[in-house]
Point group: D3
Chain length 173, copies 6
């Protein structure tokens, strides 16, 4: 399988925040945004591998900024690294205030998908070759995030997580 | 404000997986489940504090087991710890196969909510007093998760994260 | 087939009233609540018999109390009696005002489901053994309701409806 | 207020049964049909009185005939009698098989609505003058149904329910 | 195949404008109305031919009049002409203000459907015999609209569009 | 007001075709696609003018190619010309087969929006300066489409439609 670039998987979607997307304060509900993230990152993962993909896990998502009724939300997803049958997808979210038209980044999130065949067994996907500086940085971070996940799931011993060491060295000082 | 127990905030919801909830393999989409998680954990957080709550962040969620069309999904949420104006909510998900009626746990997730007043400013919430062993265990874990979040967000120095040290000591061996 | 208790079939769901659930006055629409009732009572009936179930009939439902936007609605269903292939399900609905957090019962309803095989033919279900006083009372009431339904449908002669006599004796005084 | 005829309130709606409207057998769910009934009977009640209306109660509904995916469902509602601030609405449902185009009646239901002012207090509605034989028959039946409701709710003594006597006389033979 | 009349295909649907149907001004969104138009005109086309129908094209639709939240919208569709496997459907839309109950026509639209077999190949449909004056007028107009479509799609030479000539003669004066 | 380019208004959205988006043949319904077109072209029009916009009219849309369940649909909209308070938006739609990942253009459509103030009165929008060849071609075509609309609506005399003459000259030969 030929390696692919992050741009080849890029997928975006723009939504208008409608009444049923909002909470009691009239702002976009976290649950709706996560649904939009899941759909568009599935498109990105599918574009990378051309196979059926299923959501495997979600890493930290922060909701820093309220988004109001009638505002526009753009969700953009790109594969940031591939490991065997799994793909890490990096998601960025921008909000446009419909009164001022000012646009600002309001969220980042990381989802992981697995490519499966028609009976649901995992199958390998193409490797990813990052191009830009930010893509390379996310590609490197993906390995550390994967090691942290494996440790937390009890499937890797901390001492084998070579990539994580640099970060957490001073924890045990 | 009088401290509350996790049981006082308990909220549950049972859903039938309908066609629009499923992906190309006919299984429940991750995005739909996250939407259900967000709603029911908002109810739990609201029951703890009696104020408007907004989703602040989502920690790791793993999707280990496919859930099929027509199956039942029960999502249960309880507040696991309170910190100032924020509440960590622990979510457990069970699936019931509609053919065999066997029930099994398919997901755990942790969401954090913040209580706000009508203009969206954070306001303090009651403390949480865990009762059962598992509630105490989650209460303790919440502090480590909070320190990890603060470090990753660059708002705490690793050496001050006393609770995290025990876990990551062997990382720098 | 081994008899079951009402508790074994118990199913509940909590919803936040969102904009599309409300009428022109900003209160929960009856039609949405009936949809929620139907889904959760189908879960209860399925838990009792482990077979596909279809809605057979709906008895009187009263809507006594308006439920506002942003409030929480909890729908709870338990099988109240089984007759051959049909199950009567008793539904109770509570509303929690999201400003005062006061909780009050706002509805009761009775739905009847039939268990069917994969081509839609009715199949027998386990009997129900009521436990608590209220469950016994509903179990007894179910027979009277069934006789009333059969009479109204012209499938039973009034004089054979022994359970109904006590109630309606004074109608012909 | 000038009395109105049932035809002046007539409201109809035709739906195509889509995937999310169906249960595990691929047939229209009872809960969806009740939602459609509620909306169209609210339109009929509103056309009768020109005021905001809220669902007050639902009488027996029977689901006799499965309706398949892709079939058309037509729901027709007409006010059948008015009592003070409340209106009884008679609903008939037809299904058209999308393969054979044969059309058959699959349900009848009776809903009651109350007209309210902007703060939710009941207000009187025009009287109804039935025209056709079937409308007169439903008009008469409405009184018996109302008496039965009041008795079951403990708000009328059976001996005062003069209209009901004829029907239930033989119950006490 | 026996020719049919426009009345035999007539289909109508009445909707209440709910919050999610509205734009930032609180008025019915064009996109929602087009969805309702598509469903009900598919029913009309299906009633004409008794076969699966797919949307082939949409002609001009004008949105002249805002329709508010809580208002009723009635969409009525009738086949206006049949050509081989395609059917032109004429759609009229009325809005009823829920405060004044005044009813006015707010839109007209023309959709074209094609009848297809189960693999999607076009199949012939019955001819249409217009009855009333307005139906005859639409029947005649359908031929001019068809010629205009064919010219714009480059599939007919303007000089062969005999029906269009009368209208556009003065264009080249 | 400073003139803007088409690129400044560009808006796109990618959707996965889910079960409720499909007709009886399992293909994307025209009505759903029109809803998606309306939302994303409203975003484009809003980006051009920064004001509330309402759908004014829809020109011909053709549905040439069935799009299957699970496929991806990308809708892209750009303002093609501005006239006073109205904006013509050009929409292109691509479908990606989820099995073959082949991508093809499946639709074009033209919507017109009007910018309004908070009480719904039309207000002027910036002019549009086309950049690329295709944008210039659409800019020119917009004038002819506008003249045709005005003539068909009886608001312009054919002899004044100078832009249309070239096209229809041979109609009257």
């Amino acid at each position: 399988m030929k390696a692919k670039t992050p741009s080849e998987s890029r997928a975006t979607s723009t939504h208008i925040v409608l009444p049923d997307d909002t909470n009691t304060l009239g702002n976009l509900m976290g649950g709706r945004l996560m649904y939009w993230m899941d759909v568009i990152s599935a498109v990105a993962a599918h574009r990378h591998c051309g196979r059926v993909v299923v959501t495997a896990s979600v890493n930290n998502i922060s909701f820093n900024q309220p988004v109001g009724l009638g505002d526009f939300v753009t969700v953009e997803a790109k594969v940031s690294r591939a490991f065997g049958s799994s793909m890490e997808v990096f998601i960025e979210v921008w909000a446009e205030d419909h009164k001022t038209i000012s646009k600002s980044k309001c969220n980042e999130a990381i989802f992981t998908f697995v490519a499966v065949d028609q009976v649901g067994n995992p199958i390998d996907v193409p490797e990813l070759t990052p191009q830009s500086d930010i893509e390379k940085q996310r590609f490197d971070g993906a390995l550390r995030r994967r090691q942290l996940s494996l440790i937390l799931a009890g499937r890797m011993k901390p001492k084998d997580a070579t990539e994580l060491k640099a970060i957490f060295e001073d924890l045990s000082e």
